[in-house]
């Protein structure tokens, strides 16, 4: 039993996300979702905000082709070749969530987030010298539907989440290449169909009651399983965001855990 049971029903606090790019339709969707769940008497539900930051990676033939091309450019003889190595590239996401607890330990969460994903690599000559730096980045709305488990452990809960997500590239895909002092930047705008992709989201962490709600820290991964902007890029690319997520939610409804 937690202190969340003492708070009773009420309108969940809506906190500003602080991010100007949060689409209005997501906020509207969340409101509707919350309203719907409030009608489901007897269930516990939770709404909150979540933010995460960490590292982002990208894979696929698009980057492989680029690496192969640069490997040739970095070769000093026909039989040799340069190489590429990943650089740390920041990724982050910011969003809200609404969760219905189906069992004491299991809930279903809708967690739309705006995410920044991408990757950066360095190209090295066959003698190991860096001669080119390149990368790709884009904003994306991720709409995961997550199964959320909470297992009592110490003063709080161990948490685990997993589920599919729909990704939508919002705005442009930017590709940057820096060679010596010159920089080139391609800006691609995929159409809606090209913007959609699917993936798997999940993570694990720890949650603690804090004030009127529950705060949680989780290690999260958002792994795109289908190509992103394939038509526009001309070849395949997927992304993986691995982040440290911090969330805060308020539980509402009947007795929870």
């Amino acid at each position: 039993m937690t202190d969340s049971a003492q708070r009773g029903n009420g309108t969940p606090e809506r906190r500003p996300t602080g991010h100007r790019q949060m689409p209005r339709r997501i906020v509207l969707f969340m409101t509707l979702f919350t309203a719907a769940t409030s009608l489901a008497s007897g269930l516990t539900y939770e709404v909150g905000v979540i933010g995460s930051a960490g590292l982002s990676f990208a894979y696929g033939s698009y980057l492989d082709d680029k690496a192969a091309s640069l490997a040739e450019w970095g070769a000093s003889s026909l039989g040799s070749r340069g190489s590429s190595q990943a650089e740390l590239f920041p990724g982050w996401s910011l969003g809200v969530y609404a969760q219905i607890d189906l069992l004491d330990w299991l809930g279903v969460r809708l967690e739309p987030r705006l995410a920044f994903l991408g990757a950066a690599r360095e190209a090295l000559t066959d003698r190991g010298a860096v001669f080119d730096q390149y990368g790709i980045d884009f904003y994306s709305v991720l709409i995961p539907v997550l199964a959320c488990g909470r297992f009592p452990f110490g003063p709080g809960f161990l948490t685990a989440t997993v589920g599919p997500f729909l990704g939508i590239v919002t705005g442009n895909v930017t590709i940057m290449d820096r060679y010596a002092s010159s920089t080139t930047r391609a800006t691609l705008s995929p159409d809606l169909t090209d913007s959609l992709y699917l993936g798997l989201s999940g993570g694990a962490g720890y949650a603690l009651p804090l004030g009127p709600g529950v705060a949680a820290v989780e290690i999260r991964a958002d792994w795109a399983l289908t190509s992103i902007a394939k038509t526009k890029l001309g070849s395949e690319m997927t992304a993986l965001g691995t982040t440290l997520a911090v969330s805060y939610g308020i539980q509402l409804g009947r007795s929870g855990k």
Binding site: E72, P90, E122, V130, Q133, G135, T184, L244, V246
Partner: protein
């Protein structure tokens, strides 16, 4: 409890902030990045914006649009907008519109028919019952019986669609070299015939002797075309040839017929050819001369330019003819190696076969002491200096946007495109061994080229990748520092070897030739959809000093390469 949690959250926030601050693409550049030319190959489609910031040094910015389809023109022209540019204060020349000869639907010239036959000989075989040639035709005379200034005969020089001889010339054998023992039990013989109508007018004994010494020397020498060509690509005929092909005579004779091959000597002319019809039995192809032979134009061999005083074997046209011997001999060898030894059921695509012959010319140019298709003054391994008008590159420059993979109605301009590509290919992918790999394999299309390149580089290659790299190499040919794969020009000879023989390929700087490379710009924008297997060059900025953003639209299937230099 809450205090600890708050501390934890703050710690997490700090970690997040640290991570977010480390975007490598917005920070300072890694140290040690050397300034130099840059090439990027991009595969985006549709419309996008492209920003170029030249950084510390002003750069020329080129976009090259590649239609990598080997069969289809692009659906539309690529477009580039974004600021006007000037090139040295003047607009670049817009190329004159040209109905590409390769698009002609009904090729009917002799050259077209020869090329078509060599590509698809089976379509001519056994098409109708026909009269057999009479005894006076050369096909009735075994080559081993040739005697100089004594043996006469009649050669078919053209056939109809049914393989029947339609045109003929009377000729006399004027020189027999050999049988020459090659030192390993093999013997080879050269038999030179001259059309009777040209003997004493176009051709004399001196000219025949000079021609013979270039092709086959007696006693055997490693310094003749026979040895140079065969060391790379193999023997021209042999025991693998069985019916319906002719057997090689007991002296293993190669016959060379000097006759007038052109009815008109203005414009582009035919210098020589190999016609595989002569390798067939008359049982299946009545117009065959039943010899392992090729043809050389006698009038061109005799021609003395106004800048020359009299005929010598170092004049322009004799040197061109000697180079052509190496060229046509490659065709002869390739026919045997692919269609007979390797058993290919299709013949080599015309652009590949011609490219191979011009690579062969390139390989033997310094040995023959001729300019060859590179057009640089004899024996100079450097890229020469500006103003070169000889060789194949000037026509390539004129029509830099022409398709590469032309297989029918192959024109003089297509030779230039094939050579420009082959010259780059040979200088980057093994030289003589590249040629050997292309010829001595069963593939007859671009697969042969791609496989040969991959065998040299040890990497996966593709025709698309080769087209893109070639396009960048063209633009980087004025530097000797381009990396392997992009080298036309090292400033010196580029060495290779095959069959125990060493070969040199001279450096090429495309910008040393006149006319200059055709490059489109905003003052002469790309107006037509790129042809199949072509590169379209576009100068986006000359000496760009500050960041500039372009709006680019690429049709589907068209790739773009960016070259900063």
């Amino acid at each position: 409890m809450s205090k600890r949690l708050i501390l934890g959250v703050l710690f997490a926030a700090a970690v997040c902030a640290l991570l977010l601050s480390c975007n490598p693409l917005t920070g300072s550049l890694p140290s040690g990045m050397a300034a130099g030319s840059e090439v990027q190959h991009v595969s985006y489609t549709g419309s996008f914006t492209y920003t170029v910031n030249p950084g510390d040094a002003a750069r020329d910015v080129y976009f090259v649009f590649t239609n990598s389809s080997l069969t289809h023109d692009a659906s539309q022209a690529p477009s580039v907008s974004g600021g006007s540019i000037t090139v040295d204060g003047t607009a670049l020349p817009a190329p004159a519109s040209q109905p590409l000869p390769s698009k002609d639907s009904a090729p009917r010239t002799l050259a077209d028919r020869i090329a078509e036959f060599n590509r698809n000989p089976s379509s001519y075989l056994l098409k109708s019952a026909t009269p057999r040639p009479s005894g006076s035709f050369i096909s009735a005379l075994p080559a081993e019986s040739d005697v100089a200034d004594a043996t006469t005969g009649t050669f078919y020089t053209d056939i109809d669609a049914y393989g029947n001889g339609t045109t003929s010339v009377n000729a006399t054998c004027r020189e027999v070299i050999g049988p020459v023992g090659l030192g390993d039990g093999r013997t080879r013989t050269l038999s030179i015939w001259v059309a009777d109508s040209e003997w004493g007018t176009d051709v004399d004994t001196t000219m025949v002797t000079a021609l013979a010494s270039r092709f086959l020397q007696n006693p055997a020498s490693v310094n003749d075309i026979y040895h140079w060509d065969t060391a790379v690509v193999g023997e021209p005929w042999g025991s693998a040839a069985t019916f319906p092909f002719v057997s090689w005579d007991s002296n293993n004779t190669i016959t060379l017929l000097l006759a007038r091959l052109n009815t008109d000597y203005t414009g582009s002319v035919t210098v020589g050819y190999f016609w595989a019809k002569d390798n067939y039995s008359t049982t299946v192809l009545p117009g065959s001369n039943k010899r392992i032979m090729f043809y050389i134009d006698s009038k061109l061999y005799k021609t003395v330019l106004s800048t020359e005083t009299s005929w010598t074997d170092t004049n322009y046209w004799p040197k061109f003819i000697y180079s052509t011997l190496a060229h046509e001999f490659q065709h002869m060898i390739q026919f045997y190696q692919k269609q007979i030894v390797k058993g290919s059921t299709t013949s080599t695509d015309t652009w590949i076969n011609e490219m191979c012959s011009m690579i062969m010319e390139d390989l033997v140019a310094d040995k023959l002491n001729v300019e060859g298709p590179r057009g640089v003054v004899t024996m100079d391994g450097s890229a020469g200096s500006s103003g070169i008008t000889d060789g194949r590159i000037p026509d390539f420059n004129l029509y830099s946007y022409s398709p590469l993979a032309v297989i029918d109605s192959y024109s003089v301009y297509d030779y230039s495109t094939s050579y420009a590509f082959g010259a780059w290919l040979a200088r980057n992918y093994g030289g003589a061994m590249l040629l050997q790999r292309i010829v001595q394999c069963a593939q007859t299309d671009s697969t042969a080229v791609v496989n040969a390149a991959a065998a040299a580089s040890g990497k996966t290659e593709s025709m698309t990748g080769l087209l893109e790299k070639w396009s960048a190499a063209v633009l980087l040919s004025d530097t000797t520092a381009a990396p392997p794969g992009y080298r036309y020009n090292t400033g010196a000879w580029i060495a290779s070897s095959a069959g125990g023989t060493s070969y040199n390929l001279g450096s090429i700087d495309i910008f040393n030739y006149t006319p200059p490379l055709t490059v489109f710009s905003n003052s002469s924008p790309v107006s037509t959809a790129p042809y199949y297997s072509s590169n379209v060059y576009y100068l986006a900025a000359s000496k760009l000093a500050a960041a500039k953003t372009y709006s680019i639209t690429l049709p589907k299937g068209v790739l773009m390469s960016v070259v900063l230099k």
